[in-house]
Symmetry: C2
Subunit: 343 residues, 2 copies
């Protein structure tokens, strides 16, 4: 059942039927009702391929997920972000297009999306500092919203981000207030923008209290459980171990906890841990009381809002770039306590 058939069944022209269904004013309300009813009865849905060609719009948003050949890790927050964004797209009648691409081919992927016309806009994931994609997308002329920020990008662009610096600053202050002085930072890869900002917040808080920054208490790597375990274990076996850890993800924190327990120490008493918590649906930080004291910000909600921003940019082009900053909540859980007194 296509438009022409529906039109002939109704004794109307395709033009009128199309207009009736799309809410154009130049059609009698009575006729419109009749058309709507017939469309529903024959469960007619317009062919998306034809609409896309005719309107020149893709009615789809692209998400590019990069997979490096070296460390082929899929970002675990991806699923939740996508789920949030997908809710928005469903509501607005957009499709979501996912492309898995080797990081070297990412620019080519954007260009292809633009010239082949498969998407109307793009969400940029996991920005690095001075991320080249932003300039590229400007040059290609594809609307986009960045989840995160990229320091040092020359032009203005739309983004949505957690206040990572502030979050880690507050977390560090919280530990300092508890008497901790040797606080380790188990960070993500520090060419990622969020990781840089978190470190800066951490260092700033230490500096403000005159606590010396010890580079040997800072690690940066892909955020896995084993990384957390290895890093924490190495630090805890030193003669001057840290009394607290500030870590960049729940998964790292789980590894840190494993190391702590392996050393026969007790989490929240002998060693404190604060983690960032993306509020992932499959990895909740406890039910009532949080397992880990955490800086929390829902990545799912970020997905929802990023999609909204992008669709808004597409619907109202020519506006100034929008930005949106989330403040992470500091949730106090069972993994922090006063610094143990020597003895």
């Amino acid at each position: 059942m296509n438009l022409k058939e529906l039109a002939s069944k109704l004794g109307l022209s395709p033009t009128t039927v199309s207009r009736a269904l799309n809410g154009y004013p130049e059609v009698n309300e009575v006729t419109r009702e009749r058309v709507m009813a017939a469309a529903k009865r024959h469960n007619y849905l317009p062919n998306a391929r034809a609409i896309r060609l005719a309107t020149g719009r893709a009615m789809a948003i692209g998400h590019v997920i990069t997979v490096s050949t070296k460390h082929e890790i899929v970002n675990p927050i991806f699923a939740d972000f996508i789920a949030g964004a997908g809710e928005t797209y469903s509501r607005m009648g957009y499709d979501m297009l996912l492309t898995v691409v080797n990081d070297a081919d990412e620019a080519a992927a954007y260009r292809s999306m633009k010239t082949r016309g498969t998407v109307d806009g793009i969400i940029v994931h996991a920005p690095r500092t001075a991320d080249a994609r932003i300039a590229r997308l400007h040059e290609i002329g594809l609307p986009f919203v960045v989840h995160g920020r990229a320091t040092g990008a020359p032009e203005a662009y739309s983004w949505l981000d957690v206040n990572n610096r502030r979050a880690f600053q507050r977390a560090t202050e919280f530990l300092l207030d508890l008497g901790h002085r040797r606080i380790a930072l188990i960070n993500g890869l520090e060419f990622m923008d969020f990781a840089i900002r978190r470190r800066s917040g951490y260092e700033q808080a230490l500096a403000a209290r005159g606590v010396p920054i010890d580079p040997t208490l800072m690690r940066s790597d892909e955020m896995t459980e084993t990384y957390g375990h290895r890093a924490a274990l190495a630090m805890l076996t030193r003669p001057d171990p840290p009394t607290a850890f500030l870590v960049s993800s729940m998964i790292i924190a789980i590894g840190v906890r494993r190391a702590i327990e392996e050393r026969g120490l007790k989490l929240g008493r002998d060693v404190s841990v604060i983690t960032h918590d993306d509020d992932l649906s499959y990895l909740r930080n406890g039910d009532d009381v949080p397992i880990f004291t955490a800086t929390r910000s829902s990545v799912r909600e970020a997905g929802r809002q990023a999609a909204e921003m992008l669709l808004d940019n597409i619907a109202n082009p020519g506006h100034d770039p929008q930005t949106r900053m989330f403040e992470a909540e500091l949730m106090v859980g069972l993994s922090t306590g006063p610094a143990p007194t020597k003895g």
Copy 2:
């Protein structure tokens, strides 16, 4: 730059240019070279919207991710499966379309995909026993491949699955061989097909050795860390606690470990744990020696192959449904040991 422009630049008709680019035989090789070169030079890429309308194919595969309003958990294996499938699609020139939908609207989503013509086929995720989607998709007439199986589906269909029953049977036998007799099963939701099969393997192994099946040692729920923790803690505080746990996912296992350590017990000595491990990229089971003894099967590889099967089904229609079974490896790690002797 579109086909018509490129053709006029070359002094050829659009027909010839189209044929040259698509490898049809009725064009001179010299002409073809000339066309290819010009296409590359002007970096021409055909408009996908036009191709789709003209060919009647969507060149896209749909993945539907359901989000229940009650327990809105995004399946954590989703990201890795998608990454695997995406590799295949990229290689074959297909797009991947992701739809997030409330579980009640899933059938409507399939129907819409079919009539609007946005996809050529569908991957069905997380099948339940007697899953209604299979009959629905047959009736709608959309090619599909199921990741998992659905017992009791009336018609034959293509699927790809891990041998869950065998995996859990072997894992149970392994624990029995170590002298364990009170083995708990912390399973996923048992309306999910995989969970049923795992329980069946577990029960079968126990029965074969004449070990009585104790329903109070079996739990079934959404696979989260907190669930694992709660379930294990409850069982460990009983007067007759289990000496081993068989669990359905790494994330559950992490919760179980937390409970074990909270009770002051040692994993692999006082209590043994075997988990199923989907080999998720962000949650590797240790680097050299596995943390957990596990039944392992890569969900990323499953994604790759499921996509290949579906594209094959689409390219060669009318064939019998294909099926593919993976055997999980039993990886011995640090979480299992002989059953502690009473004393």
